[in-house]
Every structure is written in C-alpha cells, then in structure tokens.
Symmetry: C2
Subunit: 291 residues, 2 copies
C-alpha cells in the first residue's frame, strides 16, 4: 500500500491509473476505522480495479471545536487495517494541504435534505461534508465512491450533490454494520466506557421497539418517537438531539408514518453524539429487547 | 464539428478523448458570439488537442428575468463561427438538461471576491456562474478552459474556485478584444443602436481618461472615478451601476490607487448593462479622446 500526503502525489497516481484504463474505487473516511469502514473497502474493491482510502478529519464539518479536538485519531492502526483489507493507496493530507490560505469556496445545498435532523442541530456540518467530498473527488478522481448507510442523511446529500453537480462518480451505499449487541459501528463508540455503552444501546433498542409498534399498526409519529425516548431517557446523562419520522421520498417529516419512512435519531451519551435510524417495516436490528 | 445536446453524449465523447490521451480544451459561452469568443477558441486550440465550446444561457446567473429573456440567442450563426474557428464539439444543452428537477446544490464563494462590483449589484449572479462552470467542467472534463479577461471579476472567481475545489482544470485568461472604436466586445453590444453605442463609448473613454490622470500622478480613487462619471453621465439614459478602484491583490476597494489596481465600472445605456475595466498605469485602449 502506498501512502500519499500531498494533493500533487495523489493526483499523479490517479492520472496514471486513468491512463492505464483502471477503474478507481474510493472510500473517504475520517479515520478511527472499524469493521464498518472495512466493509466499505470491500464494496469499493468489488466495484473497481484499484482502491484509494483517505483518512482526513475534516475541520469544516465540525460545528463544535471540542468535538473536533476529541475526534479519535488512530492513523497507524488505520493504515494497518486498510492494508490488510487490500487498499492500494492511503491518502492522508494535513488540513493545511486541503484548505489553502484564503479558501473561500463551498458547496452548499438548500432545501429539505439540509434543513432537518443533523443539518438542523449541526449548522454548517453538511456544507463541510459536501465541500470536502467535492474536493476529494477532484483530487482522487474515482469512478466509484462508497459511503455507509449509517450516515443516511449524508448519503442522500452526497448522492443529490453528485447528481446536481454532474460529478462523474458512481455512489455505492454499503449497509450499516453493527456490533453483536446491536450498536451501529461508529468511530465515536471508542469514547464509550462500558456503562455509557449500555446506555447507548437504548438507541438501537428504542428504534427496534418503535419498529415493532409500527409493525403492529402504530402509525402516529409521536408514538414511535416516544418509544425511542422512553428507552433512552430513563438513564442519566442521556439527551436526545433529535428523533423524527421522515419520508424518504421528498425527505419531509411526517405525522403519520408509512413504510417509505425512516425513524432517525441522534443522542448524546455523556456528551458523545451517536446517530442511528431504522427503515420502518423493513428492518430488524440484532439487539436484545427486554420483553 | 459534432454537436451534442445531452450530458450523456458529451460525457461519452469526452471519456473517449481522455482514453485516447487527448487533451481537451474548453470554451464555455452563453452564445451570441463575437470575435472575443473566437480569440478564446484560438487560445483553447493552442493549449489542447481537441476543443469543446458550449453555448448555454445559464438561467441561474441572471438576477433579472428581463435580462435573461432579452439575452441575444443566435445559435445557427454561433455554430457557423465555431466550426470556422476549428471547434471539434459544440455542446448546447437545454436548461432542463442542466438543471434537473429538484436541483438544490450550489457552489458558493464568500469573502472579498464576491462582496463588491458585479457581486454587489447582481445578487446571486456569481453563485450561478460558479455552479454552472463546476457542472460544465464535470461534464466536459477539460484539461484547460479559457475565459475572457473582460469579465475580470468572473475570471478571478473561477480561478479561485478551481484552486479551492481542486478541480483538475487549468484556467487560461485571454485578453479583452475591442472593436476599432475601443468598445470591449460583448454579446450585449448587439442591443446598442448607433446612438446608444456612441454613449457607450464614454465607458472606455472615461477609463482611458482616468488612466491618463493616474499616469500624470493622480492617486485619489474618487478623482479617477469622477473622470469616468464625467465622461458618461453627461448623456441622458446613462446610469452608472458601479465604478470602483480595486487592488487586485486581496481584491479590496482602495481610496488611493497604485499600479496594482484596476478601475472597474458597469454602466446601463438605456437599460443595456455593459462592463469594462482598465489596469491603471499598465494599459491603453484604442479609443479616441476628444482633447
């Protein structure tokens, strides 16, 4: 596995691959890798000839400086995992390489995808994501890029951006990978001690209970949201950032759920922010329900 | 010369050229072509193996619906000129091909390049420009793209955007082409009758007179601006949209000019908007001065 830190080196390598007729797969990450990321690499390998992964903790997508400072950084371990997974190139630029002095151009989305859920509670977050993804696509020039379904709103936004800006990249969405206890894998899970993790499990459990209620005929969004809140908020140090029922087509919040909807939530466990969602009527989580 | 109207056809052709190792030159236009545009094509030919020109009157960069409706459209003549100039492909998409239903992604710039001159008087104009140029670059995938120095602020914004978004395109700036009477060539000049044109000539003449004052030691921006205003506003039906001295490095308005400055103006002649600028101490225009 080669490792590049400069845009020029990454670009030169990509140009060579393109000239050689190779199809480039790309997995952009913020590091602190887990099996979820490795599943993205496997998807990228399945869709291309050569695979680039990037590790870049993108400052412009953090609305909270503490969150940026505390974001886990484990580059040596990440490199080992990526090499083991068959990645050809690891691109690890510094922030000053990606954001040159005087940087003032942003990719911005308006409308339903960016006015609710994570967009509402993390101002500027998705502007940072769309901007850095556009930049990384321009540098790496992939034919296909893989993103995790866990970050559902991000995936929908990136797919829309690629279509709107006519970016010549195919987007592949890989399913959420969960630990045996049902918690969706996330780099932030490293910051959970066993007690915090136990409380965090209320998130997939609550989503699963709400989905069970949906399958038994409950359609009122408030009731489904209540099921999640009840499961989480019995514990101290747990705060709901948001919990909403959203119809995927049109991405609007609805009062009455149907099976084209997701129930999505973000929660703080002693200040660590986790997100998860369930496709109502179409999904089950491997999480133990006390019933 | 081939002509494409769909993104898919243009993309397929470009992909073929890239595979064949051809360097693609690109001249994006809004049509109503004149010799200025042809000089851009010549620059593109000098820097590449194959040349694409686009004619697309981009609705998102018009702040004024009347201006969009009145923008001259002369596609048959444009195609003939481009073919004569050695263009290989003419890309002429419809607005609905470029802006699909639900389009909601924009490339937006903040800071000094987009808070003054045309940006201040045409809200949203440059957002439309940066967005459509990003889209056209993604579709055509040029190695080099050529823009006219006449639209100075646009050129600076596009160069900054390309750098900020790491777009893999080299930007070439071609000098302003003027008619024998000194008026900078512009598609909007077609809307000038002889009387309007006479009044429009006050713009290059005023800029030239201000530059002469600068060369004789005048440094006060207000005095230089006054020279332009005096030349233009003696006529009825002439309005100044703006006139400013801007230091190119940093793109800030200054009270005292130096030779790193441009004097830039936009003027309405019976409602037709024209822009021009002069590099103080570094340029002369072929315009007759009554003195």
């Amino acid at each position: 596995m080669q490792q590049f830190t400069t845009i020029a080196d990454q670009r030169a390598w990509s140009r060579q691959q393109i000239r050689a007729g190779k199809r480039i797969g790309f997995v952009p990450t913020m590091g602190a890798l887990h099996e979820g990321h490795i599943s993205l690499v496997q998807q990228a390998r399945a869709h291309s000839d050569v695979v680039v992964a990037s590790v870049f903790v993108n400052p412009t997508q953090f609305d909270n400086p503490d969150d940026l400072a505390n974001y886990p950084r484990t580059l040596a371990a990440d490199a080992k995992m990526l090499e083991g997974a068959g990645v050809d190139v690891l691109f690890t630029p510094e922030a000053r390489e990606i954001y040159q002095e005087g940087h003032c151009t942003f990719v911005e989305m308006v409308g339903p995808l960016t006015d609710k859920l994570c967009a509402a509670t993390r101002p500027g977050h998705f502007r940072g994501v769309t901007t850095v993804v556009t930049k990384l696509f321009s540098i790496v020039q992939p034919d296909v890029a893989v993103f995790g379904e866990k970050d559902l709103q991000q995936v929908l936004i990136i797919a829309r951006m690629v279509s709107d800006l006519n970016l010549p990249v195919e987007i592949v969405v890989a399913p959420t990978v969960r630990d045996a206890d049902g918690l969706a894998m996330s780099s932030r899970n490293r910051r959970l001690n066993p007690d915090m993790r136990e409380r965090a499990l209320g998130l997939p459990r609550g989503l699963q209970l709400a989905n069970r209620a949906f399958e038994h005929g409950e359609r009122a969004s408030l009731k489904l949201i209540e099921a999640v809140a009840n499961e989480l908020l019995v514990h101290p140090g747990v705060d709901l950032d948001y919990c909403n029922v959203v119809k995927l087509s049109g991405f609007q919040e609805v009062d009455q759920a149907d099976d084209g909807c997701v129930l999505a939530a973000a929660v703080f466990i002693d200040g660590v922010r986790l997100i998860d969602h369930i496709h109502l009527g179409r999904e089950t989580f491997p999480v133990a329900l006390d019933d």
